[in-house]
């Protein structure tokens, strides 16, 4: 992956990576579509990004979303996880009533996994992270299997709720010809600062608590001993070294 860093803000520039759905989010989208097929309802894909992210959202429609909304404004640029979650929360509240918000477990670039949990608090609804299976939705409750370090737990939460999903949850489908045609004709609204009526001081870089102050390539610390000679001798030397440590 190409790395670009914005010299103004020291933030990583994500242009060029906005046109594909974050791989972890494909599982979230697929799960949304499957739940709709099971229980009915409507799937809305929401993303915050630059104007060109509209292509990515078009793809979500070809993969089964009913509608998609892009949150885009130059004021949103440079957002940390807190101000990203804040902006998403305002958009979700503007959309009106919902039962479930599904997020991927993390992005592949920033890798923090924080937006989903932060979003849940801002929406003031329960969170279940690392969901590997939705067992049932009934009676205003959702029951899911959640991965923990020691194994997994089955947890129930009241709806509405936020869940983040792992890639074990499903195998995302491929777009059908019909859905591709539908996605081409879909109108994808773009909501800016104004539509969301947000205080500009709470979004983007201005609304972020964290700031990148330094970016660097990691330094290597070791100088490897590379054995020489025929492979048999090399392995002998290695085994001698390992024997000396007492580990073998």
């Amino acid at each position: 992956m190409d790395v670009k860093i914005d010299p103004e803000t020291n933030n990583l520039m994500r242009q060029g990576t906005n046109n594909v759905i974050n791989p972890f989010d494909t599982y979230a989208l697929e799960e949304g579509v499957r739940l709709k097929e099971r229980y009915g309802g409507k799937v809305t894909a929401v993303s915050m990004g630059p104007p060109q992210a509209v292509d990515m959202l078009r793809e979500t429609i070809s993969l089964g979303a009913d509608e998609a909304i892009l949150l885009s404004d130059s004021a949103f640029a440079g957002a940390d996880t807190w101000s990203t979650a804040y902006t998403l929360a305002l958009a979700i509240n503007k959309l009106g009533q919902y039962d479930l918000v599904i997020c991927g477990r993390q992005t592949v670039d920033g890798d923090t996994g924080q937006v989903g949990p932060e979003l849940a608090e801002m929406l003031k609804v329960p969170l279940i992270a690392y969901v590997s299976q939705v067992e049932e939705i009934a009676g205003g409750q959702i029951r899911v299997k959640r991965m923990i370090d020691e194994g997994h737990v089955v947890i129930q939460a009241s709806l509405p709720a936020v869940i983040t999903v792992t890639k074990e949850i499903n195998v995302p489908r491929l777009p059908s010809l019909r859905s591709i045609v539908r996605s081409k004709n879909a109108v994808i609204p773009v909501w800016s600062l104004q539509q969301l009526s947000i205080d500009p001081g709470r979004v983007g870089l201005a609304g972020s608590f964290t700031q990148v102050i330094k970016v660097f390539y990691p330094q290597r610390i070791r100088q490897a001993t590379i054995f020489q000679g025929d492979l048999g001798n090399q392995v002998d030397s290695l085994v001698d070294k390992l024997k000396a440590t007492g580990l073998v």
């Binding site: 997994h152 330094k214 490897a224």
Partner: protein, 394 residues
């Protein structure tokens, strides 16, 4: 233009800084060095300059230099009454941070029948302990409320927690409610004493570069750290500390989530974290059945079996074996990497291992840059010889 300043009176054009710039933005022009657009103020060139000709502007003043927040807190995670080793690792790092800031180190622990004295032995000056049978399996909805309340009441300046499946899920919620910054998966934590700032370093962008992050506004400064990134210190049984027992008022808050069942999973994930020796395979294995060869090597050594990301993505081996930024961080005494080229995202998950052996047919593979010992050769030839010699050795 943002960037480093070059003091032209001191610069002698030696050019030592030129290769030091990770972005290739420095060039010699006559007997001076010149900076191109795009400087990120990373400071690499400054270290390379022997003549102190390169200046970086100071870290921007925080908008909120708070005197009302003091103390370093570690969230000490437990599972079913047992403290996790990441709690001790964080206390060891927390001890350094607190010492630097000349403040106290506190552990916060929610659990049931915990041996809290071990937290003091590992460096805590004070423990905020809340005991309830309700905490045995970590109810996150309650934890979020309880930790927010404690932080509001006692106002620590720094809170660190393990980047575990629990920490990565409920700590962001705490930060969201408090309205403060949180940095995930830090691999380095240091103090800028002048500004009382926590300098939080983490791999980012798929693990290709490192970023140092500060919490400009908002307190406390919060960070999560993966297990095994820091080393725990030797416990001192004689250390004294204060234990503050807090009441858990069950009536005041209700959890919106309910635990139905728990199934323990003794998979490779667990074995990997505890293993003294790990044998790990990468793309170089070529196909799923070749992991058999590594299983044999692991068997001879009594080692756990790991994998880099490509074999997992290809479906050759389950995710529970994956070592790296998107898998498990490990720190065994011996790590044997077979057919792993060493993408940075893998290296961040294993480079603190005590001894690293790399076996790869590409002498330029980055894995050799972190290795202690290397054999450049075909793993399908090297590993069988290694297995034989190790068997002879027994």
């Amino acid at each position: 233009m943002i960037g480093i300043q070059i003091d032209l009176n001191k610069c002698n054009g030696c050019g030592k800084c030129v290769p030091a710039c990770p972005f290739g933005l420095l060039e010699t022009l006559g007997d001076k060095v010149q900076l191109k657009e795009g400087c990120t103020l990373c400071g690499s060139c400054q270290e390379a300059c022997a003549d102190e000709a390169i200046l970086t502007p100071p870290v921007p003043k925080t908008d909120l230099v708070s005197d009302s927040h003091r103390g370093v807190w570690v969230f000490a995670e437990q599972w079913q009454g047992r403290l996790k080793s990441v709690a001790y690792e964080l206390l060891s790092k927390g001890r350094d941070l607190a010492k630097n800031l000349q403040t106290e180190l506190c552990a916060v622990c929610f659990g049931h029948n915990i041996d809290e004295t071990s937290l003091i032995a590992h460096g805590a000056d004070k423990i905020y302990l809340m005991d309830s049978p309700d905490f045995a399996s970590n109810p996150e909805d309650l934890y979020t409320h309880l930790l927010v309340d404690l932080i509001r009441q006692y106002k620590p300046e720094i809170v660190i927690a393990g980047a575990t499946a629990l920490g990565r899920s409920f700590i962001p919620r705490v930060a969201a409610v408090l309205g403060t910054g949180l940095t995930a998966d830090c691999t380095g934590l240091e103090i800028d004493l002048q500004n009382r700032l926590l300098l939080q370093t983490r791999p980012t962008f798929g693990g290709n570069v490192m970023a140092t992050i500060i919490c400009r506004t908002g307190r406390p400064q919060m960070a999560t750290v993966r297990p095994r990134v820091f080393k725990s210190s030797v416990p001192d049984k004689g250390r004294q500390g204060q234990i503050i027992r807090l009441d858990f008022n069950k009536e005041r808050i209700t959890s919106r989530t309910r635990l139905i069942s728990f199934a323990e999973d003794i998979t490779e994930t667990v074995k990997l974290s505890d293993a003294d020796i790990i044998v790990s395979g990468g793309r170089g294995l070529g196909k799923p059945k070749n992991f058999k060869l590594l299983e044999e090597l692991a068997g001879v050594l009594g080692a756990a079996l790991g994998s880099s990301r490509p074999p997992v993505d290809e479906g050759w081996i389950p995710y529970s074996h994956q070592v790296g930024q998107s898998g498990k961080t490990v720190c065994p005494k011996l790590y044997i990497a077979c057919g792993i080229s060493g993408a940075f995202q893998h290296l961040v998950g294993m480079q603190t291992s005590e001894i690293i052996v790399a076996i790869n047919d590409d002498p330029k593979a980055p894995i050799f840059e972190v290795a202690t010992y290397g054999i450049v050769g075909d793993l399908f030839k090297v590993v069988p010889i290694l297995i034989e010699k190790l068997k002879d050795n027994k």
